[in-house]
Symmetry: C2
Subunit: 600 residues, 2 copies
């Protein structure tokens, strides 16, 4: 069965009614663009995604990349799909037209990219890692580096990776041990081992551009001694021509539970052959550069989770409408035909919960993309600054919340299908396996929680958190003023915000008076609480827009009623979970913190 992976009505609603994407066309960078172009881009992405990516979703899982005589063999559909995607220009969607990009707003590019991820996240990953690596070179690379790598990366002739993790340096990048020995001209010889490198080896492109964290001999210990290097699989001339192999060898493939179509590799640098890396920017500042890419990558994780959750939701919705089983309570006549299972209230609950999750997650991801646009192109300096602050505080939420909530949502899709949901003959179990990775990679969700509570909420005297709270309060106010069905939702949002503020203040006060580990011990609860509040905010904004359109009689009325119902579901079913979380946090509960190793 071919099914729709995202709902175009929802993307339109979010892009134009909630994120006001059309207004971006007024900015100089996007001059000449407008809704027609934006729509054409998203439709193109959808077409390529459904025609070239969705078609081998299962095949790329069943026939995962394998080693054959030292070569990594991947089914041919992957290469074909990536060619279609790069030929349509999606590897440089947001880049300057001057260097071959489409110069699109991020918010539009995000909607487009989500189509690829909903159709086949494993295949899309090769492209998206390339985009991420290219963005980093575009931002911090020298003119020589840009000339050597960017055109080939944007064309899809070279693919990219990010090579951070080592066997003993995963969450703790301070312990990176890969060594770099200067050989002059900014070049270094690298030696060391990296692990979990996605897309680390394949023959899908002519070359692979690894962005590698390493430590120059004599550099300080810890994160202040880490530099960033461009390490191509094959040497590259200044003109982008490919030369001999560059001493990056495959130590092995790792076999994952899901997301199998993307190779996960152990890579050895400078083992046997010499391995030359080009230093990016200045020595010892590598982690800062990498975090530029990392923040983007973290939002991309949330986007991928959202896309998979969305695809699973729509599949289970379609199934629930066609599968007939059982009768409603109160129907005593067994000779009456069974009803479509969407008629069963518990199935409807599972579908509505999924809708509230995936559409809420999509709003979150598009909001982050819109903030990237605003941070870069808003006319007003203070607006740019505020957008950048909001983006800081929302990034850990955008990474972690969709990865968890969409996993629960996909689990509901499995449940709607029942036994079929658990069978590999149907697609939802694969989403369940694929998406589980999103809680782990690009910084585990525990790391995101520490980032939010330990850094983001406190940075610049709490400016980012204050900016977020102000936005949420404004939405609550607007919703109250809107009246009708929206007002009670806005009321609950206001109460939720007050709980979050109280918990935040209590934790800030605790951080002053107690040891840091104890104050941070419940960071994960805080992250979940803040996430629920933020998603409720985005739902109230959607409810306001839906009510406005309903009142004006424009748009698909049934779709808009559904938006209001999903908003109500989120605010009534999900937001109230922050009451108990707030209690725990305000009490600075220390139950896990005080648990001793010997007591387990």
């Amino acid at each position: 069965m071919r099914h729709t992976h995202l709902d175009p009505r929802d993307l339109d609603f979010l892009l134009y009614e909630v994120m006001e994407a059309e207004s971006l066309a007024e900015r100089a960078r996007f001059a000449g663009l407008g809704r027609e172009t934006f729509d054409a881009i998203v439709v193109t992405a959808r077409r390529i995604a459904l025609d070239h990516f969705a078609t081998h979703h299962r095949a790329s899982d069943v026939h995962e990349p394998r080693l054959e005589n030292g070569r990594v063999v991947i089914i041919p559909e992957v290469k074909a799909a990536l060619r279609a995607m790069s030929e349509a220009g999606f590897l440089a969607a947001t880049h300057d037209a001057a260097i071959g990009g489409m110069q699109l707003p991020h918010v539009v590019a995000t909607a487009a990219i989500a189509w690829f991820e909903s159709a086949n996240v494993a295949t899309a990953s090769y492209a998206l890692l390339t985009t991420g690596a290219a963005n980093l070179i575009a931002k911090f690379g020298s003119p020589e580096q840009k000339a050597a790598f960017l055109p080939s990366m944007f064309e899809g002739r070279f693919f990219g990776t990010m090579a951070l993790t080592e066997p003993d340096a995963g969450s703790s990048l301070a312990d990176v041990r890969t060594a770099a020995e200067p050989i002059g001209d900014g070049r270094h010889h690298l030696t060391g081992t990296k692990i979990w490198i996605s897309a680390g080896e394949h023959e899908l492109s002519k070359n692979i551009v690894h962005l590698v964290l390493a430590r120059v001999r004599g550099a300080p210990e810890g994160v202040r001694g880490i530099s960033l290097f461009i390490v191509p699989r094959y040497h590259v001339g200044a003109d982008g021509m490919i030369g001999a192999p560059n001493g990056v060898t495959l130590g092995g493939l790792i076999h994952k539970m899901g997301w199998r179509g993307t190779t996960s590799t152990i890579l050895n640098f400078g083992e046997g052959e010499r391995c030359v890396g080009w230093m990016v920017g200045e020595a010892n500042r590598g982690l800062g550069y990498m975090f530029h890419m990392m923040n983007e990558a973290r939002i991309a994780v949330g986007r991928a989770a959202t896309a998979m959750g969305y695809a699973a939701y729509l599949y289970s919705l379609d199934y629930a409408r066609t599968r007939r089983q059982g009768r409603l309570p109160g129907e005593k006549d067994p000779a009456r035909p069974p009803v479509a299972i969407i008629e069963h209230p518990d199935v409807r609950r599972m579908l509505l919960s999924q809708k509230a999750t995936v559409e809420g997650a999509m709003a979150l991801i598009l909001q982050c993309a819109r903030l990237v646009d605003d941070a870069e192109t808003a006319p007003d300096e203070s607006e740019r600054r505020e957008a950048a602050l909001l983006l800081e505080v929302l990034t850990p939420i955008a990474k972690a919340w969709p990865s968890e909530a969409c996993q629960e949502s996909i689990s509901l899709a499995v449940q709607v299908l029942g036994g079929y949901g658990y069978a590999r003959e149907y697609p939802v179990e694969q989403y369940y396996r694929d998406n589980r990775l999103n809680q782990i990679h690009e910084g585990t969700n525990g790391i995101q929680a520490l980032d939010l509570l330990g850094r983001k909420v406190r940075q610049e005297g709490g400016a980012a958190f204050v900016a977020l709270a102000r936005r949420i309060a404004a939405t609550a106010e607007e919703g109250r003023a809107a009246g009708g069905d929206v007002a009670p939702l806005a009321e609950s949002l206001g109460a939720g915000l007050a709980r979050l503020v109280a918990a935040t203040e209590a934790l800030a006060a605790a951080a002053e008076r107690t040891e840091p580990a104890r104050a941070l011990a419940n960071a994960s609860v805080y992250l979940d609480m803040a996430s629920r509040t933020v998603v409720a905010w985005l739902w109230v904004r959607q409810a306001i827009a839906a009510a406005r359109l309903l009142a004006s009689g424009t748009g698909d009325q049934r779709f808009l009623r559904g938006k209001l119902q999903a908003a109500r579901f989120y605010v009534r079913w999900e937001l109230p979970k922050t009451v108990a979380q707030g209690d725990l946090l305000r009490q600075l509960d220390a139950t896990p913190y005080e648990m001793e190793d010997g007591w387990f």
Copy 2:
């Protein structure tokens, strides 16, 4: 790495300090047994489980059963393990000594069986389905049927299945269409197709005994027209001798996300060759008989979930103690060695949460087993009756809660391992895939929710619920009297019980005044709320026992401190989630109920 799958200290604590298993030896049925025998049985199960089952846990996943020239091929380790298990008598653990059983209390047998499931649930399933089918024949079969099948099933010469589901009759057994045509002597010719039949075809035993739901020609529509048949794969003489094939053919294998080692089959009855079934008991009463086995099977689902969650927990605990990564907040010197990750508060939270879940689940499962013992052998009639009532109301909880909570718990184990948790080179991802089935089979958790709220809570004027509430209140009272660390937990339990009672009464009142579907629409929330309250009850009982032992200075003091801390965690972190649930239920929230198909 060979790891411990269950914690023997915990099994001892639960069996003897909480469930008071030793006192069972005073009953006539268990005369001659005692703690020494019980311990020997559990130790034997553990030895066989670790030596024969755990050893091919991964292999039975990677090399799942496959069709080869029409035969189902299974790796040889499976047969060898099952032989060891049946030779030790575990297929008839609780059966009368007179018919070859060990005549053990269920509470002890449950602890023993959990070892097999924690080591390799897929292999254990062949045995446990056999036990379930044998129990049913023992209870409802004719003397002739017992003689023909039971000895062979207890010996493991014949294995069993339960064949309920059809392509159009899954959750709705009223729609079973498999037909039975009488041929005299209680024998019938069966025709029809069953799906999702676990262990439906294999060559692990000499014969396979299917217990099949079918409809005798002319029987009433619906559940009142369903009969139960014994359908052997090969004909069986009255003496148990095996004859020719009996018209049960394999329609195909289904490929599952996990639990792969157990075949999942489509079976055709009477296609081509004639298929003879022996009717069990009376015509049209099949569903009632099957539910006897089903209730047992539902508790077994919870037990399997518990066992897998437990194994994942202990694996991640061991990993967290040995894996070194990162430094604690406040440690500024990057040259200091990394700490074991159990030192990180967020990792400790994930471990404590797992401990609270899996030990709470084990208490729940052993409690149910103890109630089976009491319902059968308590000296006092009123005690037997109360135990039977409690068992009714606890069965949907024992099926559903461990299947969900242990899935979250296994997900935390994956998270503790990080990338390694997601890699098939480590065992935890398999538990994650395997256990997901438990929310689906033997009645989806949505069905369990309807069973609890629509039937169990209301049956006999609410007698079962009242009995449960009385037990919980008594524990709260006992805990308050115990004082010290236990009193505040008991206080919270009392408040949780009051919330559950209020929600139950509100729902009962609503059922009277509104349409039944609306009253039942939030059954899943109710099931979760009731489950959390029950598990908190079991944790407070554990806390009372631990405090008593700590005060008397007996037992492993550190283990007992851990018990108190886990009880505190459950009561402070998990039980308060019922506050928001109670609000929703008392308001009879109708958000999902009122969602319309066209609004999605």
